[in-house]
């Protein structure tokens, strides 16, 4: 029976870095930067579109007045749903507070799952990454963790997507060298969805492309953005901003520049196709001044990403954030610390798509073992962010009174029921010292390697369920792409 009224609860934890006044002030900075400074756009057609729709175009420079920004923000979709390729499952909702963690795109190297040595990324690795990510419960969407080195030059992106989408039902975030390759990938998405209309209704990938800090949209990047907008393909348009190098060293200044350069894509997309899904954010970190490394482990990455997420929530845009990455060359303590720090910050901030889980060596080497470790950390972090459920049943006053001083709860029905809600580790060891000793004194890294190889060997992915027809059609897309590249060279 309920006697209480006026009861407000935190269904999840609440975390914030910025006050409303601070968000308003940073946003005014974005508005001013877009209006006064503007951005360079290396794409004539895009400049024309922007010019016709209220932007001021001066050579390459495009300045965007506040009312144009306002209209673009007003036409963003409040929610977008993404589907598994078979169309049977709603995989992601792009809306505030929904967090999906995944790997990142395009490092040149990969940590070989057999030898544990760093080597160039190969075609087979894309399949491995897709299968392992499909198996990991806390990975919400998939990227490749590399750039394929052993296919025709200029087609790494298309092969990667063709292979990956057949090996996971989770949403894939693909990338492309240029619009032509993006068209190939679009066709593959359509094949998997079962037709153009099906794909429009149930999109199965998100496209990722990057403006360049500071305030530059190059031809390919903004061209892809335009293509996605026209075809209503959900897209990410985010820079990798380097604090102290390509953006200011102060966090607020960095967020203003990064947000402004992505707003070019937001404005373009909403002009071309109002209501199309676009996600911004990106890698926000600093240049280590002693080592001149773009750091993927600095605490500033987690802090700025969390603040950026709040800014985007404030204006109604989804956030593409970063976590689970590290500056280390081999898995060790530092990998764990840096990954845990950034994952927990991203989780508490409620970022939408959180990428780079599995990046090592400051983004130079993809490591699926790191992704597997991150999966465990995400699970821990998600439990904490899930908050505490407070109601009559969970308060357990009856049970406490029944058990009484000096008793125990082991055989209570309440315990049997709620024990199941405790987080179950898969990689964290909670054995006694004696059991740990007798079982071979494994480190967490040993257990990660074992679990990952077990998935690679034994996990049955969705590949066998891909229709033969679709496989053939995808091969046709690849053959055509090969032909095109041959004719161009």
């Amino acid at each position: 029976m309920t006697f209480r009224t006026n009861y407000t609860v935190n269904k999840t934890t609440r975390f914030r870095l910025l006050s409303e006044d601070q968000k308003a002030r940073i946003f005014r900075g974005v508005i001013k930067t877009l209006n006064d400074t503007g951005a360079n756009v290396f794409h004539e057609e895009v400049r024309e579109i922007l010019g016709k729709n209220g932007c001021k175009v001066d050579g390459k420079r495009v300045r965007i007045p506040p009312e144009v920004v306002r209209d673009a923000l007003a036409s963003l979709p409040p929610t977008t749903t993404l589907f598994s390729w078979d169309g049977n499952e709603e995989m992601c909702y792009v809306e505030p507070g929904r967090s999906y963690f995944g790997p990142g795109p395009t490092p040149p190297n990969f940590n070989d799952p057999d030898t544990l040595e760093r080597r160039p990324y190969l075609r087979k690795d894309a399949t491995t990454v897709a299968r392992v990510c499909d198996a990991l419960p806390n990975i919400g969407y998939v990227q490749s963790l590399g750039s394929i080195s052993d296919v025709t030059n200029g087609l790494a992106d298309v092969y990667e997507f063709a292979d990956m989408i057949q090996n996971t039902r989770k949403i894939i975030m693909n990338w492309a060298f240029n619009v032509e390759n993006l068209e190939d990938e679009h066709r593959i998405g359509i094949v998997m969805a079962g037709g153009e209309e099906a794909f429009r209704q149930r999109p199965n990938f998100i496209h990722y492309s990057e403006p360049i800090s500071p305030l530059t949209s190059d031809f390919d990047a903004i061209g892809k953005c335009l293509y996605c907008a026209r075809h209503r393909i959900p897209q990410v348009y985010t820079p990798c901003s380097i604090g102290g190098a390509t953006v200011p060293a102060s966090h607020a200044g960095q967020i203003i520049v990064a947000m402004s350069e992505s707003m070019v894509g937001v404005v373009l997309s909403q002009i071309v196709n109002p209501g199309t899904c676009i996600i911004i954010g990106g890698v926000q970190s600093i240049l280590d001044m002693r080592r001149t490394i773009y750091s993927y482990g600095a605490p500033e990455l987690g802090i700025m990403s969390a603040a950026f997420t709040e800014m985007l929530n404030y204006v109604g845009l989804p956030m593409y954030s970063t976590s689970g990455c590290t500056d280390t060359k081999k898995m060790e303590l530092q990998s764990g610390i840096e990954a845990a720090f950034s994952i927990h910050m991203a989780m508490l901030s409620g970022a939408n798509f959180v990428h780079d889980n599995g990046y090592t060596e400051s983004g130079i080497t993809g490591d699926i073992f790191q992704t597997v470790m991150d999966d465990e950390i995400i699970g821990m972090s998600r439990l904490i962010a899930g908050g505490v459920e407070v109601n009559e049943e969970t308060l357990a006053v009856e049970e406490i009174c029944n058990v009484g001083p000096g008793g125990h709860y082991l055989y209570e029905d309440h315990t049997m029921k709620w024990f199941r809600h405790h987080w179950q580790p898969t990689l964290m060891d909670r054995n006694s010292y004696e059991d740990w000793d007798s079982q071979g004194r494994l480190t967490m890294k040993d257990r990660i390697v074992k679990k990952t190889r077990d998935i690679i060997e034994n996990y049955e992915g969705p590949e066998s369920r891909v229709p033969e027809e679709a496989k053939k059609d995808i091969q046709k897309v690849l053959d055509k792409a090969e032909e095109r590249v041959r004719s161009q060279s």
Binding site: T8, T246, I364, I384, G406
Partner: protein, 493 residues
Amino acid sequence: MKSVMPDMQPMNQTVQETPVFQVLTEDQIEQIYFAALEVLERVGSRVHHDEALELFRNCGDAVVGDDKRVRVTASLVERALKSYPRKITLKGRNGKRSVALQKDHVYFGTGSDLPFTYDRKTGERRRTTYNDVVNAARVVDYLPNFDFFMSHGIVGDAPNPQTYDRHQFMAMLEGCTKPYVVTSVDGEGLEDLWKMACLFQGGEGEFRLNPMFVAYIEPISPLTNDQSAVEKLLFAAEKGIPAMYTPCPSSGATAPATIAGMLVQSLAETLLAIALCYLKRPGMPLIMGGVTTVMDMRTTTYSYGAPEMSLASAANTDISKWLNLIMFSTGGCSDSKQVDEQAAIESTISNLTAFLSGANLVHDVGYIDSGVNASLESLVMNDEIIGMVRQVGKGIPTDEAHLALKVIDEVGPGGEYVTHDHTYEHWKEWFLPKLMDRSDWETWNAEGGKTMLDRVNEETQRILDTHEPEPIDDNIRKDLKAIIDDADKRHSK
């Protein structure tokens, strides 16, 4: 003459100088609090101490059963709650008032009494000794992100288990000048430790003003207060010694399997002590505490790495702030048997969560093996983690200089910031890692391909080889020895 306009800051601006983090709403906290009062009215808590039972019998607001079960009214608890100080400043033995326990000030420190230590030479675990405690004390004395010290290990080679606490405190005094949290065998032990501390502070009155330590005392969950715990509590109340009464419930075994239920029970345990100390002497500096975690159902381990521990501790901290009590929380600890990726991850998650919650004393930093094993390396690793965590506390400044709009316009699209003065002025605000590697592949290999554990080991050895804390005055040392000898003599009979 040129007219100069004043700096026109925008008006009516509220700024988040630090992050805000909350688990519970005020409504949820109230529900937990009311439930805890309900438990104290209905079933109460067992108290194995005659004077305490007498205090309850005579107060008119409690019913004492034949089975020593004490049930108390909400009225008594609420009166008692109003009597506790909201601020306690701890002073190190070097005279520095370094730990200001007040709302949302966060300090990190070790845990205590670990039976085993990893031997740095053999890599094998063995019983902890006096020297191990001195070494841990020296390491904590050196590490900048540690603010207080608990013994880390237990002095296992003391002449008599009944007096080990005096020897342990001596080892702590030897190695560390920062404020302490101390454990004691019983009321008499606590009295000796208090006398030892008073030697540094010039007497009882000064100790009350600037206490050098907090006494660690724990009830036994569920709802049981043993004789020695109550003895210590009453002595602390009498002398105005800050003390924490810290339940260590194990969700699913000695507390309900729900976090809310575990918090209700541990709050009931705390509130009973709140009432008791008030009856003894209103106004003692009592600190709320709790190592609130789960029992792992596969291994029956009391988990120091579980995410539930971080979540429940942060929720408990929300409750402590609502009650205007200072909070003793937990972080930086792990179930891993060694300093590996697991220890790194569990330490990071728990330190970050504890810091964001605003807990005042975050203890057990450096525990591995679920509170069984002491490792110096884990302390050194955690110092770096806490440094990163504290970086979050700096927030996102949004003044003119940090917004950098003029700089952004000046550099423009396609420009660079490396050579700009603005970068030079602001990059020093970033976290400066000491043990984290940010080199590229070639440099890292050329420099020997070291892991963080290698660097942690080197740093630990360097601290042990070089760091000597401020020495103890010879006269005080003599008096300390006299107190310890006297205790040993009393207990050798």
